[in-house]
């Protein structure tokens, strides 16, 4: 058994850092909270399981979570795929602006989106006649609104690099456009679609602010229920039961998704992007119409927000934006909004770096070709492990931080690192999901060729993996940045008041009486969305000048 330990130990060593990170910031707090619920007087007590699961309210909540997440995911995916096609495969003026528009909802604070949606849907609002206020349809619409970006960007990024010649070949063999789509394009995109749908489902099933605002009290999800049980009732037993249910559901989902993605992702023939895009033609009508509808759907709440932000006590104008340099009416804030924006940007840079470093490591490990079944299983496990934080309640983790990270060497409860760490944990799965398909599509023999030419593993990485991962990596970085800028749940739980982030400040403004504060909150939201989109755009435009110099 010569030489078998070398590479295996190397892999394990590389895995140690991200696994330790997840262990400290996810597994430990989660176990701490579960122990609070299940470990009574020094003994395991599972009596809460049956009791909790027999509550009619819990039944309602579980049922609603399942069907709302499933249907929102289905609709988001169905709408997202044609939009991804239109925005990443067709060449028309304004597609960059539209791509930016699609991302905007993703970063808006949920409270603000909730208000924007309710402003539209409330009986007195412009869409009041639909009678959707406080209905499940309203919640679904908001979930779709938030998550379209995930599908459009993940699938679009993959589609952009897909070799068109394969489709042309199928067409030349007599396949109709529909058959080409079904037999060639969709199978090639499947890993991306499944990945995106999985992430969307996790986002939907753990959606919190939106469900609370739009669902009122009639609709609750497992996530809102855990929040209420934990923060209002201090019923940690029931909360722990629901957290376990969440965890199990996520594991099952990931297993299913792993199977659907296929054990071995197809090697993609990635080509230079310019060659895959073309002018829209007649057969693109469906995709363009779908995109038009989606854009309208996204634009409406955004416009509502923009218009309301442009109205202050004196009528139309930029008064709300001018106030952003202040701490609000009656000093609602401890820092001016611009300072909060600066805080947000700093933290987002940290969170992005963290998510990217860890995400690259994980994606790298997961995408290595496995020798034997044990390794394959190990990699799949690692892959799934880093998706878990998306599916588990932020409240549980947040409270878990408090009770488990309180002693040296892990006395981190009041560390300023906690906010970027929490945000990085949310962004990490997105980074991993973006990079894994790309890394898997690299022929391992490329690295071997480099090695036989004398390149050390690191040099081989630079010449083979980096060029392939560069652009998707930047896209992932942009995404992580957006996640961080918009993250509210964990941040509000952890934010230190001398450095509140923009979403936290927006929430503070909107919770205070006074038209001035409300207007400022909306203006700040618009600023948040615009800044995010600008930063993401800038990040994605970065290029390495001469790739050959590595």
């Amino acid at each position: 058994m010569r030489g078998t330990w070398g590479p295996r130990l190397g892999t394990i060593a590389l895995a140690v850092v991200p696994v330790a990170f997840l262990g400290v910031f996810f597994v430990l707090p989660l176990s701490g909270m579960l122990a609070q619920g299940f470990w009574v007087d020094g003994a395991l007590d599972l009596s809460g399981v049956a009791e909790t699961l027999s509550r009619p309210r819990v039944h309602r909540v579980l049922w609603f979570t399942a069907w709302s997440s499933l249907s929102a995911t289905a609709v988001t995916t169905l709408l997202g795929v044609p939009v991804a096609y239109a925005l990443y495969r067709l060449d028309f003026r304004g597609r960059h602006a539209l791509r930016a528009l699609v991302v905007m909802p993703f970063v808006l604070p949920t409270v603000v989106v909730g208000v924007a949606f309710r402003t539209l849907l409330a009986p007195a609002g412009p869409l009041g006649f639909l009678g959707l206020d406080g209905s499940a349809v309203g919640i679904l619409a908001a979930l779709i609104f938030f998550n379209l970006a995930v599908v459009v960007r993940t699938v679009g990024g993959l589609w952009e690099g897909l070799d068109r010649r394969r489709e042309d070949a199928a067409a030349a063999l007599g396949a109709s456009p529909w058959q080409v789509l079904r037999t060639v394009t969709l199978p090639a995109l499947k890993p991306g679609i499944v990945s995106a749908a999985t992430v969307v489902f996790l986002f939907c099933s753990t959606a919190f602010g939106v469900v609370l605002t739009l669902g009122g009290l009639r609709y609750g999800t497992v996530e809102t229920e855990i929040y209420i049980l934990t923060t209002q009732f201090l019923d940690l037993r029931a909360a722990a039961v629901l957290s376990v249910v969440q965890l199990l559901a996520v594991v099952v989902l990931l297993l299913l998704a792993g199977r659907a993605r296929g054990a071995r992702s197809h090697a993609l023939d990635r080509v230079a992007e310019t060659s895959t895009r073309r002018r829209p033609g007649r057969r693109d009508v469906f995709a363009l119409v779908a995109t038009g509808l989606v854009v309208g759907f996204l634009a409406m709440p955004l416009l509502t927000l923009l218009l309301r932000s442009l109205r202050d006590a004196g009528g139309w104008g930029l008064g709300n934006y001018r106030s952003l340099g202040t701490t609000g009416g009656g000093n609602a804030l401890t820092v001016p909004v611009w300072t909060a924006l600066e805080n947000s940007l700093r933290i987002a840079v940290d969170a992005t770096l963290l998510a990217l470093t860890l995400g690259l490591t994980v994606a790298f490990l997961v995408s290595r070709p496995a020798r034997g079944r044990a390794q394959r299983r190990g990699r799949a496990f690692l892959d799934g492990l880093f998706m878990l934080p998306l599916g588990v309640s932020a409240v549980t983790i947040g409270f878990g931080f408090l009770i488990t990270l309180d002693e040296p060497p892990l006395d981190l409860r009041s560390s300023p690192l906690l906010v970027p760490v929490a945000q990085a944990m949310v962004a990490l799965p997105l980074v991993v999901r973006t990079l894994v398909p790309v890394l898997r599509s690299i022929d391992p023999r490329q690295r071997q060729a480099a090695a036989t030419l004398g390149a050390s593993p690191l040099r081989a990485l630079l010449v083979v993996d980096l060029p392939a991962v560069w652009r998707p990596g930047l896209a992932a970085a942009g995404f992580a940045f957006a996640v961080s800028l918009g993250e509210f749940g964990a941040t509000s739980f952890l934010a230190r008041p001398d450095r509140p982030t923009l979403p936290v400040v927006i929430y503070q403004l909107i919770s205070r009486p006074g038209a001035e504060n409300f207007g400022m909150a909306l203006a700040a939201s618009v600023v948040l969305a615009v800044v995010t989109v600008l930063v993401m755009g800038a990040v994605e435009r970065l290029r390495i000048r001469s790739m050959g110099s590595f």
Partner: protein, 344 residues
């Protein structure tokens, strides 16, 4: 000098390479010949350090290479499909090993130009791999491998992805280039023609084991079995009585000791002085000769050739002369499934 001893590689219970031992003297070209799936690529990858050995040793110049990582072995591996870095220019690809070694820019540029010249692609440095034809890509890959100045070059079916004409031409070039550079090389292939053109020595591999190894001539003259003979490109094997009949017709000395006899397509030639008679079943004209299928009494359907001016007509009888230099006499019987007078 490469020394491989009892090398075994197993994957999840199946044995891909089974106790293989090989020697390759410095400066020579060894071809490992075998059908696809016989484990020859795995053997090559194991020598390169890309596969984990289940047992056995790989040594170069008496240094055991266990634990020496691929990039420190100094064996450049050239893949079937080249594996050029797609986002680097031809010159950057070829210059990659030079950059790894920190060769000064000017020297590197000169060496790249030399190598491109050597592989017959002068002035192609600025192209991208995607802009090259398959043959050109393989030439660039070869130049890149040579740029590493390897102690030994490993070639994994370097020509098999190319069309026949190009393959024949490149095979000749490859031999010329390897010899010009004085490189020790290990080539794996399923194409016996490639072996003849490129290699000095050959090892015949089947189902993970080396069946026979030696210089081209040794192996060619005396295949140890019908199996090897078939792999070496002898299309026809006659065993038992038909073999001895043929040996007699060819004036072979010790007819009784002939277990079987392997024939090339050109072992029988139409000749009025021939001692075998048969009827022509079909004829194909090629630029060099006319290829025939002839039904020979007692032997069955046989390959034969005729000169362009010979009088050959379908369904007419002809006389055939046996050219024993185009046959190989085997000691034992041929393997059962490919029984007597199998024709490919």
């Amino acid at each position: 000098m490469l020394t491989v001893r009892d090398l075994t590689v197993r994957f999840d219970g199946t044995t891909a390479v089974d106790e293989v031992s090989l020697d390759l003297p410095t400066g020579e070209v060894l071809a490992v010949l075998g059908p696809s799936g016989c484990g020859k690529s795995t053997l090559l990858r194991a020598i390169a350090g890309l596969e984990v050995l289940s047992s056995g040793t790989v040594a170069y110049d008496d240094q055991d290479l266990a634990g020496v990582p691929t990039h420190k072995r100094g064996f450049a591996l050239m893949f079937q499909d080249g594996q050029l870095f797609p986002n680097q220019s031809v010159a950057a690809n070829v210059g990659y090993p030079l950059r790894l070694r920190g060769t000064p820019r000017v020297d590197a540029a000169r060496r790249v130009a030399e190598l491109l010249e050597l592989v017959g692609l002068p002035g192609h440095g600025d192209r991208l791999p995607a802009q090259l034809s398959g043959g050109e890509r393989q030439r660039v890959a070869l130049a890149r491998s040579l740029a590493a100045d390897p102690r030994m070059l490993l070639l994994d079916e370097p020509l098999s992805a190319l069309d026949r004409e190009l393959r024949e031409r490149l095979a000749g070039d490859l031999r010329r280039i390897l010899k010009a550079a004085g490189t020790t090389a290990l080539l794996v292939t399923h194409d016996h023609d490639e072996v003849w053109t490129v290699a000095d020595r050959v090892a015949v591999m089947q189902a993970g084991r080396i069946l026979q190894a030696g210089t081209l001539d040794e192996v060619w003259r005396a295949p140890v079995s019908g199996e090897v003979a078939l792999l070496l490109g002898y299309p026809t094997i006659l065993e038992g009585e038909p073999g001895q009949q043929l040996a007699r017709a060819g004036d072979h000395g010790d007819v009784a000791s002939v277990g079987a006899i392997a024939l090339r397509r050109s072992a029988l030639r139409v000749d009025p002085a021939g001692r075998l008679g048969g009827r022509v079943l079909s004829a194909t004209v090629t630029p060099d000769v006319v290829r025939l299928k002839v039904l020979v009494e007692g032997l069955g359907e046989m390959h034969a050739v005729a000169a362009h001016d010979a009088d050959v007509r379908i369904d007419h009888d002809v006389l055939l002369r046996v050219d024993m230099s185009r046959t190989a006499v085997l000691p034992g019987p041929a393997p059962a499934p490919r029984a007597a007078s199998s024709v490919r």
